[in-house]
């Protein structure tokens, strides 16, 4: 009877039993990035080194909505989808290669995870010979039972907040079209640098 009940609960609410914890999601992301190194985006990259694999751990859709804030609902479905796609490309071209490079030969100390409702913060420390100990905080959000990363905080400075400030500023002072153009230009710059 007990087993049957567990089975029913497990089938109905798979996230209760088998979903990865915030710490596990963070470890998986770091470990994938460390092992893939510069192979991200290359045609010969193994299956575990594709951008899609990384994106399983990231809350890109929720992050897009958060970055846009009050402007999100005014965009309409088509532009919302475009923005999500553009942000995904920005992360692929800019964030993954740089993060992989940084993480490649780094030793981590995994700290505690703090939970508060559907938000979590997992901390890892990196010891850099020049800069001493740097604390990296991974912010995660739980949606439909799955934890996904949406922010990285370097010594307390939130990268997502920084990006949000830029998006908000451009949306207020310029336009959505200008924001899109800047995102495309930044992606192009990253590609140029990679090619060079």
């Amino acid at each position: 009877m007990g087993r049957t009940l567990l089975l029913v609960i497990g089938l109905l609410f798979p996230q209760l039993g088998w979903a990865d914890s915030p710490a596990e999601v963070t470890k998986r992301l770091i470990s994938t990035m460390q092992s893939c190194g510069q192979e991200f985006g290359s045609p010969s990259a193994p299956p575990q080194c594709t951008s899609e694999e990384i994106e399983k751990n990231l809350a890109v859709v929720q992050l897009s909505r958060w970055l846009m804030g009050p402007h999100w609902d005014t965009l309409g479905q088509e532009k919302q989808d475009d923005f999500i796609a553009l942000l995904t490309r920005l992360l692929r071209e800019l964030a993954y290669p740089r993060a992989s490079e940084f993480l490649a030969d780094t030793q981590f100390e995994y700290g505690d995870t703090q939970l508060q409702g559907n938000e979590a913060l997992t901390e890892v420390s990196v010891v850099n010979p020049d800069e001493g100990r740097v604390t990296i905080g991974f912010r995660l959000n739980q949606s439909e039972g799955v934890w996904k990363i949406w922010d990285v905080r370097l010594d307390g400075v939130s990268m997502a907040s920084n990006l949000r400030k830029q998006v908000q500023s451009l949306m207020s002072k310029q336009s959505y079209e200008e924001l899109v153009e800047r995102m495309q230009r930044t992606i192009a710059n990253a590609k140029t640098e990679e090619a060079g």
Binding site: W66, V134, N141, V157, K165, L170, A190
Partner: protein
């Protein structure tokens, strides 16, 4: 006396750092580990964020920001590049340590003001050790041999610690990002320099200008690639720098 002090402070404000310090991501790591908590991070994915509100100084700030970038591009960076070609990096790092050592008074005093006695003691110990067996501060013996880490306190942080809000964001010519509170703090830190009270205005001005220009060029030479990458990879450099500055200051005050 007041006039003399202000003269020194003005030069200090104008020339010091030439807008470098607050842009530097490396500065984020100087204090070592920080404990972050969910409680201190106000925003979550569910937070409803208000629309962007520009600083009351926004038109002035944007002009000053462009001016500082221009100055960096046309004067500071070319000079720093030549300097970097002539002086090897270990020597430039020693110069950085030397300037760091002579800036002990505000760090010591502000540690005391914030009742961070450990920080004040470390600053005093570091100054004595590095000024003697550290060859006037060119070598950081205090850190390498005695494990005495530098504290990083200034009067802006002291004000923040006692509840003074940052006020509007402000970009100062030559200096870079600041807030009204931090600009006041910078003046107070300058007034703590002992030589302001010992030398004439002309002497203080000349000494400060020489010291701070050298320090700025040296610091820039150690971070030559910095602005290029921030510029190339940010969507809006002005707001990116503003946000980094404000977040970093908030973290420093919270520590």
């Amino acid at each position: 006396m007041q006039k003399r002090r202000l003269g020194g402070v003005m030069v200090l404000c104008l020339v010091s750092m030439l807008g470098l310090g607050p842009y530097m991501p490396t500065a984020l790591a100087q204090n070592g580990a920080t404990q972050q908590g969910l409680n201190d991070s106000l925003d979550t994915l569910d937070t409803v964020i208000p629309a962007y509100e520009p600083s009351v100084f926004e038109p002035f700030n944007e002009k000053m920001f462009s001016f500082n970038i221009w100055m960096d591009e046309h004067i500071l960076r070319p000079v720093a590049r030549s300097y970097a070609g002539a002086v090897p990096e270990p020597a430039r790092l020693s110069v950085r340590r030397f300037f760091d050592n002579i800036g002990v008074v505000p760090r010591f005093a502000n540690s005391l003001f914030q009742l961070k006695l450990d920080g004040a003691a470390r600053e005093a110990g570091r100054f004595v050790i590095n000024s003697t067996i550290g060859g006037l501060g060119f070598f950081d013996v205090a850190k390498n041999q005695f494990g005495l880490e530098r504290s990083q306190e200034d009067f802006g942080q002291t004000l923040g610690k006692y509840g003074v809000g940052p006020g509007p964001y402000l970009v100062l010519p030559f200096i870079g990002p600041s807030t009204v509170r931090d600009a006041v703090g910078r003046v107070a830190d300058g007034a703590m320099d002992p030589k302001t009270y010992l030398l004439s205005t002309v002497e203080v001005t000349a000494t400060d200008a020489g010291t701070l220009i050298t320090s700025a060029v040296n610091e820039r030479s150690l971070n030559l690639g910095l602005f290029e990458s921030v510029d190339r990879f940010s969507l809006d450099m002005y707001s990116a720098v503003q946000d980094f500055y404000l977040q970093n200051r908030e973290r420093q005050i919270a520590e």
